[in-house]
Amino acid sequence: MYKKGLQLKPSGSGTAKAAPTPTSSYKSGGGGYDDEDDEDFDDEDEEEDFDEEEEDDEVDQDEYDDDTGDAMDTGADDNSSKQIFLWSRKPVPNLNPRSNSLIFQQLEVDYAELKEPVEGMPGPKAGSRPIVRLFGVTKEGNSVLCKVHGFLPYFFIACPPNFDVTHCKSFKEALNEMMMSKMPSQEVTDIVVSIDIFQKKSIMGYNPDPLTPFIMITLILPKYVTKCRDILENGHKYFFEIPGQPVRQYQTYESNIPFALRFLIDKTITGCSWVELPATTYKLSTTPVSTCQIEVETSLDTLIAHSPDSGEQWSALAPFRILSFDIECAGRKGFFPEAEKDPVIQIANIVKNQGEQEPFIRNIFTLKGCSSIVGAHVIPHDKEVDMLKAWRNFVIQVDPDLIIGYNIVNFDLPYLIGRARALKINDFARLSRIKSTISKVKSTHFSSSNLGTRESKEVSMPGRTQFDLIQAIQRDHKLSSYSLNNVSAHFLKEQKEDVHFSIISDLQNGDDDDRRRLAVYCLKDALLPVKLLDKLMLLFNYTEMARVTGVPLSYLLGRGEGVKVLSQLYRKAMKEDFLIPTYKVSTKGPKYKGAIVIEPTTGFYDVPIATLDFTSLYPSIMMAHNLCYSTLIPAEEAKKLQPTDYTLTPSGDYFALPRLKKGLLPRILEELLSARKKAKDDLKNETDPFKKAVLDGRQLALKISANSVYGFTGARVGKLPCIEISRSVTSFGREMLDTTKRIVESNYNIANGYKHDAVIIYGDTDSVMIKFGVSTVAEAMELGRHASKEVTKHFIRPINLDFEKVYYPYLLMAKKKYAGLFWTKPDTFDKMDVKGLENVRRDTCPLVRNVVSVILRKLLIEKDIKMAEEYTKSIISDLLQNRLDISLLVITKALSKTEYKGRVVHNELAQKMRARDPSTAPNLGDRVPYVVIQGLKGAPIYEKAEDPLYVLEHNILLDTQYYLDKQLKAPLLRIFKPCLPNPEAIFNGEHTRTIAQATLSTNNKGFFGALEKKKVCMSCPNTLTDEESTVCKNCRHREPDLYQTCLSNVTALEDKFSQTWTQCQRCTGSLHQPVLCSNRDCPIFYMRTKVQFDLVEAKKTLDRFNVEW
């Protein structure tokens, strides 16, 4: 793609000729350049097949032809005005607040304190007040800052007895006085703005009574809310009492929701939705504080929110600008780069508009000269200070809405900001859209039960959303390593050259071509996030998630799951005058029983097994039984009601029936699921790939949201836990599974006229596997469909047991561990489905995963048990002879804590590596790769773990027995147990009798200087005389054979080496420069290194024959 697209596509028109385009003169050595990548990328293009694509290409092509002449020297010197023009957004079309309405899609929402009122806008007469800032983009691609006036923070407490409107004034004064004394401030005259009484109801518990009065407390600034809540919750600590009331603790309601989110909820604006300011209701800011093209002031009341499902135009995405960047720094040998000491040497940037196929800017800022790169604009600088300043200007000019990259939040951005501080470039950190705001780096800890604890940094940058791909991928995908290499290999099927940062300095200090090499690498690192974003549809999926759940985009990566459900709950509750209490978080709470499994009857089933699933099990239970906060009836209350008014759940909790009160959660779920159904229907009929992507993202977001509601009620550290709901859900689930088993087994049997007795061989949470005994897939499907309808009749709608698939054959090993061929049509199978086995788990080595996959394929698809057994034996034999590739044996584990209780393998190794070289050692949150090497007998495993690279370099022998016994044995036994009479035989037998043993490694010279390799006959243990070099006199007759074997061995290794080498050259993109890559995630790298060693050894052996031609 470097060849095709030029990075500078003018966003205006008619500027093509003047465009400072990169040169195409760099041809030499670029012959094989990135061939691989081009193909891959093109493939993607075809898949997505966007409408605009062809046009874009043509435009690019035209430019390219016109401009090849003058481009070379347009560096950073004489071009600033032209360049800035090209980088900038399109000029704003004439905008008249009197006659034009302003419509934009908001992306980022926050608030600021404004010192003085703006004329004509609502709010207090004087003093500080909050304004909500909406940052967004118009359909035309202009950036917008919309400042909304008049929204103030508030929360509720229940109205105590005998408190009425007449007491409001004295309460307000008392509270205000208390607040002013606790948090004195010159900015505001009054902290408490108003006290009002509203008729509301708490969401907790079924309450048939009409609404009751609640006191709404409105404050001037969000920062006062926490204190004020504390005063009311703990009145006795502050000696505070509401005038006329005794000192008591008040339960507060809705007092812990982020201010910006509260605004979105109240105005029914969802994340990433379109907002309209009708003509005359807004005005342009007189003194703009931002770099946005359009900056307006408006009032809370006149703003119109367009719901994304209210029309096609409102579900579209505006053309946001996406900047992807990557930096390189020159570290010192042996140290990880530190911003205080090590310079930034290159910054690569890719800018693209959402909705366009190709990026329109690809450039790289370099320190010192750099040879030109086809398809990218090289901007060299002599001084680092100049480069950083230029880059900052570039960012401001480009004005991106979304900044993406790989690990930018934890590394690149903090590094740049830290570096600029070290170099005393004061203005550098003004990267945000607010001119006066300096971006600051903050360290945070994020921990959730789902993702574990992660140390992370947060860079404040109002107006620009940071979307770090590593965070998104860590959230959504379970991978063995989250390095960019591994991630792109996994999703894009592209390996990339990994230049170790200790080599970076050498390249930087070389000549222009060396720096070009680095630049190409850096550009690739900036391009890959863009490709990942496209490939994984992240932008669509995340914006749709923001729209469905109503939270801003940035919340999705920065916060947990809870806030998403909370936002929906607030929105629903508000419409019905419900108030949500603010609970103190406590980690304690009763445990409840989880889902159930029907004990599996293990075996290898060579008959079709029908599988019935409950569709959306947990949401449908909540809907069917009306489980909600607002329908929960305390046990003593239930006694007062008629048994026909409530449901008693299997866990012993009471919930009101829908005819008394329809719960909020069931209604939220109903909406989510019907919206999903609609989105799926639309998806079927939609042809436009962009809209398809949006719809697909939406249905996925809706599904995830529906499923997370159950988790929200069960999360004990969440915002509003309710164990009664979650335990009722799981108990219903258990009961339903049992019912299903009973019905199926009692109906489909010989007694009822069927040919066989149906047996439930396994059931888990939401699915049951039934052996009907029939021999064809078609029959099993028939019965499965029939049974699903039959069973569904026994449950309350919308609970639905659905026939989904047939497994045939089916290998059931243990609970949650099974494999089978997946049939949805009677004629061909769809795929092989494997659950819970080592080939999908990531805490084992690739060898186990590979072997398990191959065996399953042989067993299930080829149905050849003998072959599977033979294959396994050959692998074991290779393993014991140390003939396997080391990359297959690498195990990775995440280093998730700084301190472990016991001595755990990966932590011990990380410490060992740190002692060796702190710069390459793994850090907290990294996944540590290791292999197990031979150690002393009985030595604990943590002493035997070693860095794979170190093992390769020092030729250390692996503990093959460990891999056989501890890694391979259990999973293989599990698979073979149902198939073979004596599975243990696989692990001993002839094939295990040839073993490679430790040879003296080169690093041991110091210890064993007294030793030298003995020349021994190649076929018997006799020592050779000085004249003999290969075999002793007794074994002469075998010499020719041995020579043959040796020769073919060398040839095979040579072939393998050149293959791997070619592979690496391709990846590097150059045929006549050494390959520098040391990519630890790349299997080729390990293979190449190992083959290299083996080849040297094999050659030595061959040389002993001393054959002269």
Binding site: Q881, Q934, G935, L936, K937, L957, D959, Q961, R993, T994, I995, A996, Q997, A998, T999, L1000, S1001, N1004, G1006, F1007, F1008, G1009, A1010, L1011, E1012, K1013, K1014, V1016, C1017, C1020, P1021, N1022, T1023, C1032, N1034
Partner: protein, 255 residues
Amino acid sequence: MFEARLLKASLLKKILEPIKDLVDSANFDCSPVGISLQAMDSTHVTLITLLLRSDGFDSYNCDRSLSLGLSLVSLNKILKCAGNDDFLTIKARDEADTVTFVFESPKSDRISDFEVKLLELKNDQYNIRDSDYSAVVKMPSAELQRICRDLSIMGENVTITANKEGVKFSVSGDSGSGNITVRPTTDTEADLATTIESKEPVVLSFALKFLSNFTKATPLSPTVKLTISETDPIVIEYKIDDIGYLRFFLAPKMD
């Protein structure tokens, strides 16, 4: 055809005792000269060499050299079936994949035979360069065993300081430190005498874990010979009556 007969099966048991915890499996190389074994532990810190000369056997017959790759774990299990006074015969056919152990009780009233499958072990063999020594210490093997046992209580590493006056074994650990010095003796009989030949003073450290393991060979010989030099591994040699020796090479600890 290979066949060798030992008058005492217990000899093989004693030999195996110090080796089996260091290596899992090893090649017994049989040649007309005798049976030899060379093995390195998997951490590459020690090298074990064993030689049993053919003339030390009751009868010995080997036409062609061959390697018997054996799992020491299984060998040890088999030897447990032999009585201490049993005769032992080892038999293997040329190019065979099994070896047979025959135990005969002294009165010939009980004969048992075991066939063991062979392993094919791929490893390198090494020549051991003769090097200059700084000190050669001969001492009662039981004494060395006791020193190692006593010092193991205190720490993990032992520092050996040897000069003309004596050999000092010192250890230090978390709980304290200790020294044991052995001086040359002149008056006692040859087996229990301690002699020191010292060219130059030498100080080296070793892992006690390994030394203690070597001293399991004590039943093989009443005396043990320590050859210490600054640049090479320490050599600990147990002579086996009239038939050969068992030697351990141990690399010194480097700091």
